[in-house]
């Protein structure tokens, strides 16, 4: 019998986690952010429960500021997968027209993402939510367990985490508590790309380098995805060959200049990179340890 490759081991671990959650919880959901990690997680979920479809719906917490290509991709994927796709937008945020430009990235993220997620979890009564976070993304994610317990108010206490020795997961929870589960915790960005390549998993085209209209904001290249992007007086966006290592709200997601327009080229680029993909996320630079603070408040 041949030994498993490292990707096969990661795949097996993720599938084990997903099956464990479905066996131990009552109403799980998979958070679907339309990015590459979500694509891999969805692919693993389909494998874990094949030939039946995964026994949980997909939940997209929408902020109305994602890239247009992401919305198109999301709708196509939901149609092709035959899974229920729940889309939740914080109605209070819509009413107040919360946006990253006039309210800033911190308020926008808090209202549209954190509060939106908490509302959706409460509304549908989900007690477990799969997320595509990985340890190599950011330091607060590095110390978070695979099974991350949240209080009834969805708060995370980093000093009160359960041990996960020998990959044994204690899933017991108090009434009102919920679990955020991260089946891709032990994957790296390179693993994700290799797996996408090997399994031919469809991803949003924004991950591939192409000429796109961008403007520079505080050293980041921000794509002008629609007419809502406010330009400075007289500013003309430049067409530059860029791609995205991570996808979020387009005004808060920086592109990188790249020539990698195929999966092998992206993997080659990954082999040489020494920075986290989240360097392109404006929300991570709001303040020191901003991700940990957001997670304590309920961010995924």
């Amino acid at each position: 019998m041949t030994a498993l490759t490292h990707l096969q081991k990661l795949e097996a671990e993720s599938i084990h986690i997903m099956r464990e959650v479905v066996a131990e919880t009552e109403n799980p959901v998979m958070l679907y952010s339309v990015g590459k990690d979500s694509a891999v997680m969805l692919h693993l979920a389909r494998k874990a429960f094949a030939p039946a479809p995964p026994p949980f719906p997909l939940l997209h917490v929408d902020t109305r500021w994602k890239f247009r290509a992401m919305y198109t991709f999301r709708d196509n994927m939901a149609r092709e997968m035959g899974m229920d796709l729940l889309v939740h937008i914080n109605p209070e945020g819509v009413e107040k027209d919360i946006n990253p430009f006039t309210h800033g990235s911190a308020i926008h993220t808090d209202v549209m993402k954190t509060e939106g997620l908490k509302q959706a979890l409460n509304q549908y009564g989900f007690d477990a939510a799969f997320g595509g976070a990985r340890r190599d993304e950011e330091k607060s994610r590095a110390k978070e367990r695979v099974f991350s317990f949240r209080t009834a108010q969805h708060r995370w206490d980093p000093k009160n985490q359960r041990p996960e020795l020998w990959k044994l997961y204690n899933t017991r929870k108090h009434k009102g508590e919920s679990i955020r589960v991260f089946p891709l915790s032990n994957w790296t960005e390179l693993d994700i790309w290799q797996y996408i390549y090997l399994q031919d998993i469809p991803i949003v085209p924004l991950y591939y380098a192409a000429e796109r209209p961008v403007v520079e904001r505080d050293g980041a290249l921000i794509m002008v995805d629609d007419d809502r992007m406010p330009l400075k007086p007289g500013e003309v966006p430049m067409m530059r060959k860029v791609r995205f290592r991570t996808l979020g709200c387009y005004p808060l997601t920086g592109a990188i200049e790249s020539q990698a327009d195929t999966l092998p080229a992206i993997i080659q680029e990954m082999l040489l990179t020494r920075t986290s993909e989240r360097q392109g996320r404006v929300i991570d630079h709001d303040s020191a340890a901003s991700m940990e603070k957001k997670k304590q408040e309920g961010y995924f």
Binding site: E235, V236, E257
Partner: protein, 266 residues
């Protein structure tokens, strides 16, 4: 068979092959036919081999070695850098090598346009024009774009005796200096016979700079139409430029769509 069109590398390979064939007993005529060389060249290679061995067979490299030519001194380079960030006074849309050479001569730095050409090339400031005419027969989206949107406009402008330009804006990033000591953004135009006109900027060009450039192109032939095929800018997002174009119906700005203009060829 003439060998003047061959590069030194190819010619040397053939000369060595010719010597090997001669050593194998082939006649000069047979060797010339098989190696793709003229009979005198085969004889010359054979003679060189007999007199100096294998090392004598290759021809000497043509021209001057890199770095042996006249170079711009530091002062001239500083003046050149400063000039490139300005708009030329001569009415040219941007700086040509000739214009830069004249400007430098006026301030006591006589250099040739050719030296400036080399300097621009060494600093990655000499982009190649788009190979537009090669698109006419291409069965691709780029070919269709050229045939449907570019060719008719260019033909109409040329027929009316107007000016046809190509250009673009780009980030020049191969330089070793940090961005603070060298302007990273380059506006460039290719005019008749592909002559380069260029300007460097510290920040991405704003609508005002584009409009000033368009106006200069327009003023070169004020009573005739002008067409500019431009890549690297997203003019659709600029209301100022849209208004300027509406006010100048005889100026045809053709945006190169994404993916059609990366690099010098399609």
């Amino acid at each position: 068979m003439s060998t003047k069109h061959l590069s030194p590398e190819v010619l040397n390979e053939r000369r060595l092959e010719a010597v090997r064939l001669r050593l194998d007993g082939h006649t000069v005529a047979q060797t010339a036919a098989r190696a793709g060389l003229s009979a005198p060249t085969v004889s010359a290679a054979w003679k060189a081999f007999r007199e100096g061995g294998w090392t004598a067979v290759p021809v000497r490299p043509r021209g001057r070695k890199t770095g042996q030519g006249g170079t711009l001194d530091v002062a001239a380079q500083q003046v050149l850098c400063a000039r490139l960030t300005m708009t030329p006074d001569s009415g040219e849309p941007a700086w040509s090598s000739r214009g830069l050479a004249d400007a430098l001569s006026e301030v006591g730095h006589p250099v040739s346009a050719r030296a400036i050409d080399h300097w621009l090339e060494a600093r990655d400031l000499k982009p190649e024009p788009l190979a537009l005419t090669a698109l006419a027969r291409q069965r691709s989206s780029a070919g269709r774009w050229y045939r449907q949107q570019v060719q008719p406009v260019l033909e109409a402008v040329r027929k009316a005796g107007g000016g046809v330009w190509q250009g673009g804006v780009r980030v020049t990033g191969t330089r070793s200096e940090p961005a603070s000591v060298w302007p990273r953004y380059q506006l460039y135009l290719h005019g008749k016979r592909g002559v380069l006109h260029t300007r460097c900027l510290w920040a991405p060009p704003a609508a005002g700079e584009y409009m000033a450039l368009f106006q200069r192109l327009h003023d070169l032939l004020p009573d005739r139409p002008t067409a500019l095929v431009f890549q690297g800018a997203y003019f659709q997002a600029s209301p100022e430029i849209r208004r300027w174009l509406e006010a100048h119906p005889d100026f045809y700005l053709i945006n190169v769509p994404p993916g059609h203009g990366t690099g010098s060829t399609f």
